[in-house]
Symmetry: C2
């Protein structure tokens, strides 16, 4: 190559913690030669994005570049790093996937549901793989899931270190500690840029080891007379294993709840990452028959997700679990920034039902974050000694703080890039780096009905629905007799049975408005007037409801001329 | 070599923190070939060892092995690592010394006073030096003094890592951070045994960086209206520099007090480790003339040493410094275990004089220990991955706790050796290690008058002196006239001027006892009787003083026949 350049393109993960997807592009004299993709994860919607199940990265930029994609490398098996594969893998042209053992297993199961058979290679650590002009080496690190790896990417203009989602856990409960030798060796040889986790940039010291969590499970279980219920991310296999192992010690039957929880623990069991005695694995139907102190439920819902097992328990709507005094509910994961409100609401409900709720604000020991604190982050910087650094996988305030940490270690402030989604950095010869053109990206929402068809209007409506409810008026006009029938139903607005008068009067308003409009004209003409009639009826109902209740529900009106 | 063996012999430093001196011996078929010595430090006496200025290692074991000593390697410039050189260097046959730059400078100055010119090599880091069958490489680490190094010692049966006095400081204020690459590289290649610092084995997390201390100096100085007085170890050049640099910012004149403080700061200035504007360096005589808020005194005495500048200030006996309200006294070093009582006594006296005393119990930030906490210690273990570990340079409770840390990392408990002074470990082929024969060592005390002549009796006397005082009776008998003259003086017993009657009566007792004894014999015979007369006089005086005062001063009697 005569004039090689490398461009780093974050398609996601750069501002909202989740939805991680990064491109490394190799150019020769401005001609794109090879693309290496790292991770392809989903995003978790914020509270304002109602009814959205998840977000996925916008890959439209890649639409005409499929032939340049050499591989997708996956750092670890968390949803925000692999979860978008079912939506994007075919569209990206089914490129080869390279990753660790557990991650590979998760991906296989995930794509199976979509009838996709991936081209999947389980990597050998420290082995160099070639991808066009890139050479990539996976090395071990520690996180809250086994088989989490960093990736050393050698390029014609220098070495890039993809150092995401890690902590320098000196005593990981399962698997080897981080590969300090490879980290320092690549630093010794020279690293042009470090792409680093930054989520712990505000937390002093080093992150607690995952091993500490195991001890607190035992301690808490010993003190619990009722059901022991633990919730965490379904992909947090280490945490799940530690809780399950404590349950085995106390002879509690372990019941996994939630679809991904069941699926992931199955995968982990298959490859020996969750060795548990079969007789202690129970199923949901057994819960009510067992004495409470013989039950350990491991469930999804730690982020307060609506419809999750934990949310249903909080609302007393779970078909087989009633929360009682003496039960302990253990939130073993911090809320992802943005989810705090939902999580705390559920915690409150559970506490009101008499459960003893333990969560990270109460007990520091229960959630050893998977993400490194300040000293972990500084250690990686010292080990790899990069010229440039780019914080990724966090929010902007974390990125800014990470920049401060870099300067404390003597790096130049301008050598630490703070990027937004789609903003790119181009590395050139002689160790130069500069911010380059921005790639257009959009929020792609997914809900139960499809991908990407949820617009801003829909989200605004959902917002109103969530806070004020809805009232639907249906007006049926007999084309012959001009007789009118009005039905009004509502949800989330007022309790209908106690407010019959309100709705009777609302029906009268609809009839009056319609009569005034319809009187001068015939039925046929009437149907022409329907759009404007609709608007008027809506306006009148909105005004009426507001006068009577102070609320502004979403009002929908349907007019049917029969 | 056909049957090589290596023996590790701690001549000191293994139980009492200080007095560090270690031998690495190489044997071939039980025949001693080479000895490598690491460090040659003094010990600080405990409170029970009154009047002892310092302790030095007992090198009598080496008396007939001088020809086998290949070199003395010095890890860093603290007194407990180099301070015994003036006493032992000649006795050891003037072997070559290898060490870092600042340490070399300290050693040169130190030996100069004793008119010894050392054979001194300033090492190049990461360079391998050969010493008989040993190959040693110095690598950088961080501590509370610049140029602190770890030593990788390669032997025919495996690699030993001398990892003493360190912390994993990620932001050392001066000099490079620890050489993580070399630490992990040697671990990758295989380390048979790690000899490690263990003093922080009870402290959670990582030790604060020295840089944090610099910030608190500035903060405290900003708030101080009176004199700013800082005390730390005279060898703690980093700390001294940080305080001095803060003084420069606030335009305070810097005055160094204490012999070693003056000497060390001179050395550091010479090699550029203490760059300060000459006009801001003052001298003791100026203190009283300067406004208090223009003074920054940096003094010895942080360990509560009797006679130190700080102790004198506390007792209001310093010739040029009076402590006043508004003055701030900053103890920037933890008491060495055993010295707590003295330090707290002085702190109390200073506080009573109106000074604001800041010390580590009050403000965590002021003393970032030079020694690594649990995570620092674990990091070194993870980096070097030794088969065996030997904690050194701490007390036995630290060593036991270090053993626990090792087992947390998966090491076998029996692979961590807890040694007493003189207890040895022999490493053999095939990675075997066992405890071997013990070397006899004794406590060698040094005071102002000499080395090693302070026996247990002397210490017991000093103990009495310190708590009960002394009374000396002198009886002069005129050989001719038999006339007797008695003088009694005392110190630390009772206040003589107020107790003239007591001493007059004591003089009468001496005369009476002597007369009774002397009456029947002539003067010449009398001189024969003097030893037993002495004993009787002492007994009578002891009894009398005890009856009258309840105290038992040390009583000394001298009888002179003129």
């Amino acid at each position: 190559m005569t004039q090689p350049k490398v461009r780093f393109v974050p398609l996601g993960g750069i501002v909202g913690v989740t939805k991680n997807m990064y491109l490394y592009e190799l150019y020769d004299a401005d001609k794109l030669k090879d693309i290496l993709i790292v991770d392809c994860g989903i995003g978790f919607p914020s509270a304002a994005e109602l009814g959205v199940d998840l977000l996925i990265p916008d890959i439209s930029y890649l639409a005409d570049k499929k032939d340049k994609i050499r591989a997708i490398l996956l750092t670890h098996g968390h949803e925000d790093h692999i979860g978008a594969l079912p939506y994007h893998y075919e569209a990206l042209g089914l490129p080869p996937l390279y990753t660790g053992k557990l991650t590979a297993m998760f991906i296989e199961k995930k794509l199976e549901e979509f009838n996709i058979i991936p081209d999947l290679t389980v990597v050998k650590l420290r082995k160099e793989y070639e991808f066009g002009g890139f050479k990539a080496t996976f090395i071990n690190t520690a996180h809250s899931i086994p088989d989490t790896h960093h990736i050393i990417i050698k390029t014609p203009i220098g070495t890039l270190y993809h150092g995401q989602d890690f902590k320098m856990d000196l005593t990981p409960p399962y698997g080897a500690p981080p590969d300090f030798y490879s980290m320092t060796k690549v630093g010794e040889e020279g690293v042009l840029a470090l792409m680093s986790d930054a989520l712990g940039a505000f937390r002093e010291g080093m992150t607690l080891s995952e091993s500490v969590v195991g001890e607190s499970f035992e301690e808490e279980m010993r003190k619990t007379k009722g059901k022991f219920i633990m919730t965490t991310f379904a992909s947090n296999i280490s945490r799940i294993r530690q809780c399950a192992e404590a349950a085995v010690k106390f002879n509690r039957k372990i019941i996994f709840l939630g679809r991904t929880m069941t699926k992931n623990t199955e995968s982990a069991k298959e490859i020996g990452y969750l060795p548990l005695p079969e007789k202690l694995i129970g199923d949901e139907r057994e819960i009510m028959k067992l004495p409470p102190n013989k039950v350990c439920i491991i469930a999804t819902g730690s982020q307060g997700q609506d419809g999750s097992a934990i949310a249903k328990m909080a609302q007393n709507q779970h078909r087989s679990i009633k929360i009682q005094a003496g039960d302990k509910i253990f939130f073993s994961s911090d809320p992802i920034p943005g989810n705090e409100e939902e999580v705390y609401a559920i915690i409150e409900q559970l506490a009101l039902r008499g459960a003893d709720v333990v969560y990270s604000d109460v007990s520091e020991q229960i959630h050893a974050s998977g993400h490194g604190n300040i000293d972990d982050l500084k250690l990686l910087l010292r080990f790899t000694q990069p010229k440039y650094a780019i914080p990724i996988g966090s929010t902007i305030r974390h990125h800014m703080q990470y920049q401060n940490l870099c300067t404390e270690l003597g790096m130049k402030r301008e050598n630490v890039f703070l990027l937004n989604e789609g903003q790119t950095i181009t590395f050139e010869g002689a160790g130069k780096a500069r911010q380059s053109e921005t790639i257009e990206t959009q929020s792609i929402y997914v809900d139960a009905y499809g991908v990407g068809d949820i617009g801003n209007m829909v989200l605004r409506d959902r917002k109103t629905l969530s806070s004020e409810g809805i009232a639907v008026g249906v007006l049926i006009i007999d084309g012959q007799s001009k007789q009118m029938d009005v039905r009004i139903v509502s949800r989330g607005f007022v309790f209908e049975k106690g407010e019959q008068g309100l709705f009777d009067e609302a029906a009268n308003i609809v009839k009056r408005v319609a009569s005034n409009r319809l009187a001068p004209v015939g039925a046929n003409e009437a149907s022409m007037e329907i759009p404007s009639l609709k608007k008027e009826v809506i306006r009148e109902l909105e005004r009426y409801f507001k006068d009577q209740t102070g609320r502004m529900p979403l009002v929908i009106v349907e007019i049917i001329v029969a």
